[in-house]
Symmetry: C2
Subunit: 262 residues, 2 copies
Amino acid sequence: MPAPPPDIAALLAARDTPRVWSLLVSLFGDVAQSPDARLSGAALGRMTEPFGVKPEALRVSLHRLRKDGWIESTREGRRGFYRLTETGHRESRRASPRIYSGTALAEEAFVLLWDPSATPPDALTSAAVTLSATSALSPRPAEDAGVLSLLLAPSEPVPAWIRAKVCPKALVEQSRALLTLLEAVAAWRAATAEHQNASASAVARLLVLHEWRRLVLRQPTLPDFVFPKGWQGPACRARARALLASLPRLTPKQIEALGSLC
Amino acid sequence: MPAPPPDIAALLAARDTPRVWSLLVSLFGDVAQSPDARLSGAALGRMTEPFGVKPEALRVSLHRLRKDGWIESTREGRRGFYRLTETGHRESRRASPRIYSGTALAEEAFVLLWDPSATPPDALTSAAVTLSATSALSPRPAEDAGVLSLLLAPSEPVPAWIRAKVCPKALVEQSRALLTLLEAVAAWRAATAEHQNASASAVARLLVLHEWRRLVLRQPTLPDFVFPKGWQGPACRARARALLASLPRLTPKQIEALGSLC
């Protein structure tokens, strides 16, 4: 008999507590993107407590996010509410396609090569991965006619040193660990589909979303075929997408109504 | 009425005297590639005199070529004879395809990119043009799997700085000057085709061959589409080939029988 799939509380207990401000950014970005959406401090506490977040750490992070202009707070009697600022909304919207897209971040890779005696081109935005002092790998050809832009065909053998520049070993490891986690969540989901409670589903969704977001925002915007062997990004993307589709996104009102998971 | 085409003696008189040893290498490579071919000092004098070569300069150059192991000499009574050594034969044979071919030196160009933290690959022979500390342009892909080799399609826009690395301005200038010279020789050939003397033809052939050889041995082995605008290599190749076909290659015996041009 196979071991029973772990429940979400046990999965979370076995993990390190995430950075609280980052977990909150994941949560707000998922459920509070409409302009008037807000979450109470109490609801935030219930959603983050299963991750190991202590009330004091939550307060500190909320303070930090407010100071950074990401969220703003209001009070109603003794209850505090938090919502995204305009900046927070904009940044969340900007990250959304990357996080929720079911397709690869890029389909094409271009090798850019510029004049060693010239300054690197402005066009080399954060999307490009530096290969050397005079070359980079980018999802787009350079606009500057002084830069040679060569399409890297998917059939081209990509040397290991280029793959390593695209994605360092630590990120490959993170993708492997994430795949293991997502498979555990999927097993739990499959085993408990009929009698899941809403709190567990909401926390599971936040776990999947947050961990996937941490990977996808770190990985360069380049097609999967330039990544190192062992990179589990595409498998993680497929798993995360399937889980996010099966674990419904709650409205702020529904979040408020949830009981405690623990 | 158009100006009459200059004769070969006048064309040569208007030019600087070439490096004598290099002119001799051109001549031996053209007429003395068979193992037992030899040329007398007197015949070498008659062939090089129209280029402005003085007897003393000829002696010095023959001495140098002998010292370098390129030619060897024998005497028959008071006459000295010169022929290619085994080394001279080998080097002449090696340069021949490049000089006499009617087609471009290369059809394809590959951008090679290697790991900045690794040593440059051995495979980067003299055929490749260095683009930066970690990249080169080569007529062949690298054999080393650690080097990214990307085909540069002829349709690809090639930045000016790459064209300049492939062929410096001085070489572009040389190709322009050569084209002007070859056109003058072709005009002379067309105007005098029916009453040319053998000496003038032989000297004209040596002039065409030597000047074309100087260009083609300097240019990198890369397809014409990566050269700078203004590069006249392809036009020179076509002209030189047509002239070499119409100005017959003489045997050493025929060279000996020639009279003086001047």
